[in-house]
Amino acid sequence: MSAAAHESPASEDVRAVTEDVWMVLLGEDGGLRPRTVPADAPFDAAAWSAATTISGGWHGVVTVELDEALARLLTGRMLALTDDETATDSDVADAVGELVNMVGGNVKSLMPGPSTLSLPAVAAGRAAFGSDSALACRIDLAWQDGPVRVSVHVPQGGPR
């Protein structure tokens, strides 16, 4: 196994990737603010979570969690819904899935390859992580006063 396969993404890189995705999706309103959260604190507000798995030259799981209002706002923007239209749960799942697909795909580009990116898995509720995974990187941000968390987990004992 190469030494590169043991790397973890830098938090500032994951933050930059997330900010880029947000800005492109939401334009001028897409500015994310840093949010201070105690280490090891579970995400306080997750109503939606989505994860994608990177496998190959590097292994890891990228997860995005966000609260209900924020997920629906983001979905409305992505689908260009009018004030009279309401995003369905299916719409939200689709939009949050595409969000983690973009963040995950760009995290993959930061890491050694070649690797493949799984289709996103979306859940209503907080993300759960197995005991065989370890947190490699976590960033907490806020958009429109709603919390967003992006996490990268790697196999226990380091990326492989």
Partner: protein, 123 residues
């Protein structure tokens, strides 16, 4: 001009649809490569396909190889629009017959510029 948007995400199809309809394209949409192939076989033949890579049922790379294997569809312009950003993947897609490659996230201008490079919209 007609564009077929092939992406398993409704949200992404919506974003791309808004961009290309703003350029006066007519659009059709497919949820994955097989869906797109079925539409082509049914006679819905666009000028350009905007193709995601990672999709269920049939991925975008397989779709491109299928399209390029059929001489009847040789005039269709193929543009990958995907999060796959490894050089190896880009080379594979272009070798298989994609004309252009756009990495998500993209700005509307990036799509317009690529379509312009392909001669599908006025520069």
């Amino acid at each position: 001009m007609r564009a077929m948007i092939i992406d398993d995400s409704r949200a992404m199809r919506s974003i791309l649809r808004r961009i290309v309809t703003g350029l006066d394209f007519e659009t059709s949409e497919a949820e994955h490569g097989q869906d797109a192939l079925d539409q082509l076989r049914a006679g819905v033949v666009p000028d350009v396909c905007l193709v995601d890579w990672n999709m269920p049922v049939m991925d975008g790379y397989t779709f491109i190889t299928e399209v390029r294997a059929n001489p009847a569809w040789r005039d269709i312009t193929l543009m990958m629009v995907t999060t796959e950003s490894e050089q190896r993947q880009i080379v594979r897609a272009l070798a298989a017959g994609a004309h252009e490659y756009v990495i998500k996230p993209f700005t509307p201008d990036a799509i317009v510029d690529k379509l312009s490079l392909l001669g599908l919209v006025p520069a």
